[in-house]
Amino acid sequence: MSSAPATLAQPAELSREQLIPLLQEVQAKDGYLSQTAMTELAQALDTPVASVYGVATFYNQFRFAPLGEHVIEVCRGTACHVKQSLTLYQHLERRLKLRPDGNSADGRFSVLSVACVGACSIAPVIKLDGEFYGHLTVEKLDALLDGIDKHDTESPTEPNQEQPTEASHS
């Protein structure tokens, strides 16, 4: 081997830098990464599909199947752990009858356990449909979920629009 054989990687490098932002964009739009989307991205960036898939599966953020209507992210940071976040997770497991993939039996909820969200001072924390809730207990969690259930039964066509806290605070 007389010289570095990696020359062919050079021209592709600039566009390759866009891969992760593009995957994030696709997921933001579609909710997950479909094989079609990844294949198309691979073509656009002139990168092997295996590599695109390799990158996508490396990062926690990317999902390969759609999520339920409501997404509950349970923080698995240290402070939350010390303050019994596992109890919250187990409670969700029971109440929502979670399947191994983290989706509830009725498919309405997806429960994810996520890396520290950086709100340790008010642990334990969950993120429900994009909004943080701190100092949680099983009772407070139940109140939140009851609020969602009530809301969804009353206006089943428009789930996820209004924040459920109003219900829990009233």
Binding site: G77, V82, G118
Partner: protein
């Protein structure tokens, strides 16, 4: 406040515009005008500055709405306040600010009157905010149950303590956090009025690159991300490496669970980071910079995006910044969820669009980094210190620290401690001072057992060792490390084997999988620790494995530490090693007695059914996930201990309270 009042010309004589880069722009804004001599203009500018500083004319409410504030209901507090003000036509402005640091007492709201009086209120919630507003705006009761302290002179309220004099803040030295929670993080003007960019302007227009590097080196600033490499030295390596393109990367991938300093700084004072980056980029000769920020921090990213856009518009980023012929563009790269991407070579791989797997060093990134070009990676807090050093000099910075150490360090205090939040203290201060002095010690009726410092790479320091100074070397001697600054306090309710297992699970999930010892070894260590937290079932072999496990833990820890490719792996065993060192008795209780002294490990819990009160309703049997409960309807049930997972579901289900924890 996206329109910059301060950048606008004061009169037709004023020549400043983003299209005409001028070295004096910042001085002109903050102390000027310099371009023409006119007392009217001077007054006008001083007034503008003052207005901006106050957040606007008249009454202003500053609401602490960082991520932590929001999790405590800040957005609902804001919504309720807004509608309150609208309904009653109260002429008051609302400004969202970052976290002041005392997260325990959030939501914080500062009331600023037109005359400059600024009072700080805390413990607000969506439920009680109406009471607060009523007190302030209807009853004019500024001294109410929410009052926390005052800022500045505050005539008539001298008896109210200064915020800085309250127990939580009085032991702190706020340098990096000086503006957090006080200024509007969405406004360049607000930052300029607080003195931002004066240091950058000085560096870019009056100093050589070498001088800037020297000054930072002299200050003794060390990387605040964990490893503590001298920052000035790193810059010099990159500066002295010839290349047609150099890069600066701000590492905002704050992945340590229990650490949130960088998030708070980015949310509360993003312009400080941009200024630090501007100085650093100039010092090493980089024209392109990245902020690699984890996607879990959407607010920080939004704040930063807004700040970058405003700086571009004002000519503080882009080409020929301040007429210094320095170019800099900053791009935000969002992490996609990988702890290992806090490692500097993994960040490079990730920015390049690949799997965030570390590569061997040398070559160090400062020599050959992004796309093979010299690249300096600095952590958020490190960069946040740079403008202060330029402004006040290296000696000032050195003096901030205790003993040999220089500067301050921000710690994120959380866990079983009375006061949680962000604390900034001189480097070298004893841990006890932070945990007990600022944090207030354990909650009522409890006893601090250990402080976990340094996240998954750090260790647990027992209470009796808390007099150790927060010094890079001293902490390492105790098997912990400074780390990024996460500090989780644990009391007797925490099981140290469980804590070790928690961190091992974390590392195992976050190992990139590239090198063998980390990929395979952390999984085996996790499995051994998991076995310790469960009762051995049936066969002798399992009991034997648990004994062997302790030996294996130490052997694996040594190999992983010695042979892993990157810092993540090399430090992966620290939480286990430090708990083994200081809490061996707890391990022994788990192994020899099948007992968790703290009662945390579910798998070692034993429940029993009181046959006298059990009515045989079968409620417990139905909920038991392991099928560990036997018994016929209407006759007493019993639990098969070997099958029981210790989840306690049966306890909740029993209508007669017949089930109790026996061990």
């Amino acid at each position: 406040m996206n329109r910059s009042v301060l950048i606008e010309p004061c009169c037709s004589l004023c020549t400043h515009s983003p299209g005409r880069p001028c070295p004096d722009l910042i001085t002109c804004i903050q102390e000027g005008p310099l371009c023409h001599d006119d007392d009217t203009c001077r007054t006008l500018r001083a007034e503008r500055l003052e207005t901006v500083r106050r957040g606007g004319d008249g009454t202003v409410l500053f609401v602490g709405a960082g991520t932590c504030g929001r999790a405590n209901g800040a957005l609902h507090v804001i919504a309720k306040t807004k509608s309150y003000l609208e309904e009653r036509s109260v002429p008051a402005r609302l400004v969202e600010v970052g976290c002041v640091g005392f997260c325990q007492r959030e939501v914080f709201v500062d009331l600023q009157k037109g005359d400059g009086l600024r009072l700080s209120y805390c413990d607000l919630t969506p439920d009680n905010v109406d009471e607060f507003l009523e007190a302030v705006f209807e009853k004019n009761e500024l001294r109410n149950r929410f009052l926390y302290g005052r800022y500045g002179e505050a005539p008539g309220y001298e008896d109210v303590p200064l915020v800085a004099d309250t127990p939580f803040f009085s032991r702190q030295t706020r340098v990096v956090l000086e503006n957090c929670g006080l200024i509007d993080p969405a406004s360049l003007d607000s930052a300029l009025a607080a003195g931002a960019f004066a240091a950058a302007a000085r560096a870019l227009t009056t100093m050589t690159r070498e001088e800037v590097c020297d000054m930072v080196a002299e200050s003794g600033l060390r990387g605040r991300g964990g490893a503590g490499f001298p920052t000035g030295q790193k810059w010099k390596v990159a500066l002295n490496t010839a290349a047609h393109q150099k890069y600066l990367i701000c590492n905002a991938d704050e992945g340590d669970p229990g650490a949130f300093m960088d998030r708070a700084i980015l949310e509360g004072d993003p312009f400080r980071i941009i200024e630090g980056m501007l100085i650093a980029a100039y010092a090493i000769g980089a024209t392109k910079a990245y902020v690699y920020c984890r996607a879990e921090y959407p607010l920080a990213i939004a704040r930063l995006q807004g700040a970058i856009a405003q700086c571009r518009k004002a000519g503080l980023l882009g080409a020929n910044i301040l007429g210094s012929l320095t170019d800099l563009d900053i791009v935000i790269k969002q992490g996609a969820g990988a702890f290992v991407c806090g490692e500097e070579t993994a960040i490079l791989a990730s920015i390049e669009g690949g799997r965030g797997m570390p590569r061997p060093r040398p070559p160090y990134p400062a020599v050959a980094g992004l796309h093979g070009m010299p690249t300096v990676l600095n952590n958020v807090e490190t960069l946040a210190n740079v403008s202060g050093i330029l402004r006040n000099g290296p000696a000032w910075f050195r003096d901030l620290g205790l003993g040999e150490a220089a500067g301050t360090k921000v710690f994120a205090l959380s866990g079983r401690v009375r006061n949680t939040g962000l604390v900034e203290v001189p480097v070298g201060i004893p841990l006890r001072e932070i945990v007990y002095g600022i944090g207030g010690g354990a909650p009522e009726g409890h006893q601090i057992k250990a402080v976990q410092i340094g996240g998954p790479s750090g260790g647990c320091i027992p209470d009796e060792y808390l007099d150790v100074p927060t010094d890079y070397g001293k902490l390492q001697e105790l098997g912990a490390m400074m780390g990024s600054g996460g500090m989780v306090v644990m009391d007797e309710r925490s099981c140290m084997v469980d804590v070790a297992r928690y961190f091992m699970e974390f590392i195992r999930n976050e190992s990139c999988g590239k090198c063998t010892p980390c990929r395979e070894g952390t999984t085996r260590m996790y499995e051994i620790l998991t076995a310790l937290t469960k009762r051995p079932v049936g066969e002798e072999i399992q009991r034997l494995e648990r004994f062997r496990g302790l030996l294996h833990l130490e052997e694996l820890a040594a190999t992983i530490k010695e042979t892993s490719l990157c810092g993540l792996g090399q430090s992966a065993a620290n939480p286990v090693l430090s708990t083994l060192r200081f809490f061996r008795d707890e391990y022994e209780a788990h192994i020899l007695e099948d007992r968790c002294p703290a009662g945390v490990c579910q798998g070692l819990r034993t429940y029993a059914i009181d046959t006298a009160t059990c009515v045989g309703c079968m409620a417990c049997k139905k909920v038991c996930p392991a099928g560990a409960i036997l018994g016929e309807r209407k006759s007493a049930h019993y639990i098969i201990v070997d099958r029981c997972l210790g989840c306690g579901a049966c306890v909740d289900a029993c209508p007669k309270q017949s089930i109790t924890l026996v061990a």
